[in-house]
């Protein structure tokens, strides 16, 4: 058994695909229609090659409630690792990404938090 998929809820799958590919720079791996929504996954060009992030619709009331409760309290729903967090933040800001936390040193890691435009906060960190 191994970890192959990680999924996050998004409020609009089209918008999410645009943000995660055009802005963050991930690559579209799968995108096909199912049951009124789509199965969309992306991978990072920095690897691991086969670890997919699924952009899941938040249609169920519990999913949107979960999203907005975390967002309101400023809690990120997941975290991505960066090898050069300061460059990454500069690159993303130039593309209009809004940060709720500037790169901040916290012990052995530096963390920053941004809005993914789909109702989530995402943390990036460098160890």
């Amino acid at each position: 058994m191994r970890i192959k998929l990680i999924s996050i809820f998004v409020d609009d799958q089209d918008k999410a695909l645009r943000f995660y590919t055009d802005t963050l720079g991930f690559r579209k791996k799968q995108d096909f229609p199912v049951g009124g929504a789509r199965w969309i996954s992306v991978t990072s060009p920095e690897g691991p090659e086969d670890l997919e992030l699924v952009l899941e619709p938040n249609g169920h009331p519990a999913a949107s409630a979960y999203q907005s409760a975390l967002l309101k309290d400023g809690i990120p729903c997941t975290a991505f690792e960066s090898m050069a967090i300061h460059d990454e933040v500069r690159r993303l800001k130039a593309k209009g990404v809004v940060f709720t936390m500037e790169p901040t040193a916290a012990g052995k890691v530096t963390i920053a938090i941004f809005s993914d435009t789909c109702g989530n906060l995402i943390q990036i960190y460098q160890q």
């Binding site: 943000f19 229609p33 199912v34 049951g35 009124g36 199965w39 967002l71 400023g74 709720t100 809005s115």
Partner: protein, 166 residues
């Protein structure tokens, strides 16, 4: 100075960035409250100005900050929320006219046109298309596990076949 129009837009958006980061939690919280106000399809007459007041921003700043954080304008967000609610109500079997009024549209024609443009089917055809799916009362039709979706339509067909046999 940014040289192109896109550069200028990016320059403007990055300045909203600072506003959110500086005001941090409180600014984000206020923006979330304004978003909830717009998401409430039962009060369709909430103006963008009223939502901006909830966020303690001028309409101008509200629209731009909202778009930078949520990737769409307040108006686009509200329209999308209404259409999502409409899909849910149609799935529950309510009539197109009832759904149209319930989600805050005053004209059936503009509701149907907008719905068809965004969803790809007219409200009536959308409702008919759901009859072949599995139906969970009071909620949208879906297979027992969303993760079944990764198998695509074939996996869902297999599931539906099993269900019919029961």
């Amino acid at each position: 100075m940014p040289s192109s129009v896109i550069g200028m837009v990016r320059f403007m958006r990055s300045s909203y960035n600072d506003q959110i980061t500086r005001g941090n939690r409180r600014a984000l919280l206020r923006l979330c409250r304004a978003r909830e106000l717009l998401a409430d399809v039962r009060s369709p007459d909430v103006s963008i100005e009223a939502a901006a007041r909830e966020a303690s921003l001028s309409s101008f700043h509200f629209i731009r900050t909202f778009a930078a954080v949520f990737g769409e304008t307040p108006h686009q967000f509200r329209t999308r929320e209404r259409l999502t609610a409409a899909q849910r109500l149609l799935a529950c079997g309510h009539s197109v006219t009832d759904v149209c009024l319930e989600v805050g549209f005053h004209s059936l024609g503009s509701f149907s046109t907008l719905f068809a443009r965004k969803i790809g089917l007219s409200p009536a055809r959308y409702q008919r298309s759901l009859r072949c799916s599995v139906f969970v009362p009071d909620w949208t039709p879906h297979p027992p596990s969303c993760l079944l979706w990764m198998g695509g339509t074939e996996a869902i067909a297999v599931f539906e076949k099993t269900l019919r046999r029961q």
